[in-house]
Amino acid sequence: MGRTLAEKVWDDHVVRRAEGEPDLLYIDLHLLHEVTSPQAFDGLRKSGRRVRRTDLTIATEDHNTPTIDIDKPIADPVSRTQLETLRKNCADFGVRLHPLGDVEQGVVHVVGPQLGLTQPGMTVVCGDSHTSTHGAFGALAFGIGTSQVEHVLATQTLPMAPFKTMAITVDGELPEGVTAKDLILAIIARIGTGGGQGYVIEYRGSAIEKLSMEARMTICNMSIEAGARAGMIAPDETTFAYLKDREHAPKGADWDAAVEYWRTLRTDADAVFDHEVVIDAAELAPFVTWGTNPGQGAPLSASVPDPDSFTDPSEKLAAAKALEYMGLEPGKPLREIAVDTVFVGSCTNGRIEDLRSAAAVLKDRRVADGVRMLVVPGSVRVALQAVEEGLDKVFTEAGAEWRHAGCSMCLGMNPDQLKPGERAASTSNRNFEGRQGKGGRTHLVSPQVAAATAVLGRLASPADLSDATELAGV
């Protein structure tokens, strides 16, 4: 019987297989950041171990880093200590680090792909659940805990329990104004936050094949929000074109050998998935969340649901609690929800195409009075590219704040946070209670919806803007 893409990549990394034991998998790339690594390095020190493969390991600073005044000392002493700890650990153990201020610094999941370090058929891990991002290249990439970070540092391997396979097939054309973010939010709403539990999801079908690499990263990034172990997309010409000539991409004869291998990384025609979901791209619309988990979403044209409309008792309770936290009444049209903050950035939507699509909406428009809009590029390289294209000017002229690269308001570990009761339209990945600041309320949206929302001050898509301007007689 044929094998799926995920099974092929898994099989190629088995170091040891024994009855009754989890497979021991080799890890091709280990990404580190300041938050989930200090206790792992401590563990190495205590047991007198070294980093086995510093040449397969790379670190960057992203979660804690400020996005303004980066040339000044970090104000929060605890954040500063954590960054200093990473710097010391990388120096002591010989790990390559891109610290704040470095041209390669940025959100770890933006940095890996742009350096060309993420390639098809690799195993990629990081102490961060959004490692699933790298699956966009046909890599098997998963988030791990700190104990596993230590395990990979010491052995370059991980014992991994077997997984199940799920195919999510999206055929057809995405309608105008519908992005990868809308698609993945719709998928999570459909299968639920636990729907992917135990599975590696392969996204396939004509609508997926047409997506750019950056859009594919947005999709795979949020696989974890459906509870999946990982998300993957088979590599194709789009993947190869993205990688060609990147700093760490193979060169010369190595490139040819690599591409030859990469072309084999497709699910065989006779392979069988444990579960299959089919989605018609043409039926999708801009999608936003109304609740406090990423599965609580609906098309922008819908209204806040009534908790009583849920049949499952735990979903009903969750919806009621979510509406209470979000300060929303059932039946309120989503388009009438006013926001005071808009955040564009994160490992989900902080790449150059995301900034371009937000800027295209904002060009010659203004952020509504009383709305604060933060634009935080995913990496310094993304920021430089944006400046070259004049996007920073578009944002600042519209009244948005153009910030330095980092995770920023996605999780509010740095000073970029919502205040209690503030409501944000955010291109990030999690709308959990307090995620963007204590008492803050989050609606997950695409970059286009974020920009349109900033202009109108309420949840909106770019299509609403032309109506609004006509109505205003402009």
């Binding site: 989890p22 961060d128 969750a318």
Partner: protein
């Protein structure tokens, strides 16, 4: 890792599903560089409510958390497991756990037990009616018992063995150092290296 064989303790019934790791330990606690001192951050936002179950006097000293489905979703932060352990929890029962959280818990000796939702419902009713009721989580016999409840649970044999013995994964893996070296010797040359080019 501390070994886990069997544990008996009072319970905290947490009637919530989709308890994500941001709720278990908010991000601002993640700046610490140690594995301890997270107990005050556990469910920090909810604990501001004096009626929150963890704050009730009758739940003080409880060691078994009985939670709704999809416990531990979201971020991979192992700090969530440390916070539960630092607070004093020895076991968590739910009908479904997020994968990364489950893996983290078992690597730290916090036993996560999957039981059918009907059983979780019964444990909730039981421990709400009688806060002194004790739950026993027995990894040796692979069963959970409480007054009027006795139910088996699954855990893969390898994970169970490592928990029972309190074994350290890294030293187990390093016994197979030759296999790792043999694999490395045949890795293709086109695989990327992080060293500056």
């Amino acid at each position: 890792m501390e070994a886990f064989t069997t544990h008996t303790g009072r319970a905290v019934p947490l009637r919530r599903g989709n308890v994500d790791t941001d709720q278990i330990i908010p991000a601002h606690w993640l700046k610490k560089v140690t594995r301890d001192g997270f107990e005050d951050g556990l469910f920090e936002a909810w604990r501001k409510d004096p009626e929150f179950v963890l704050n009730r006097p009758e739940r003080q000293g409880a060691t078994v958390l009985v939670a709704g489905p999809d416990f531990g979703t979201g971020s991979s932060r192992e700090h969530a497991v440390w916070a539960l352990q630092n607070y004093g929890f020895k076991a968590v029962i739910s009908s479904r756990f997020a994968d990364i959280f489950r893996g983290n818990s078992l690597k730290n000796g916090l036993l996560t037990v999957v039981l059918p939702q009907e059983t979780v419902d019964r444990l909730w009713e039981l421990t709400e009616a009688d806060p002194t009721a004790e739950i026993t989580v027995d990894l040796v016999e692979r069963k959970v018992t409480a007054p009027g409840v006795e139910v088996g649970f699954d855990l893969d044999e390898n994970a169970r063995w490592r928990l029972l013995e309190g074994l350290d994964d890294i030293s187990i893996t390093l016994r197979h150092e030759e296999d790792i070296a043999a694999y490395e010797a045949k890795r293709p040359s086109y695989k990327p290296r992080t060293l500056p080019v």
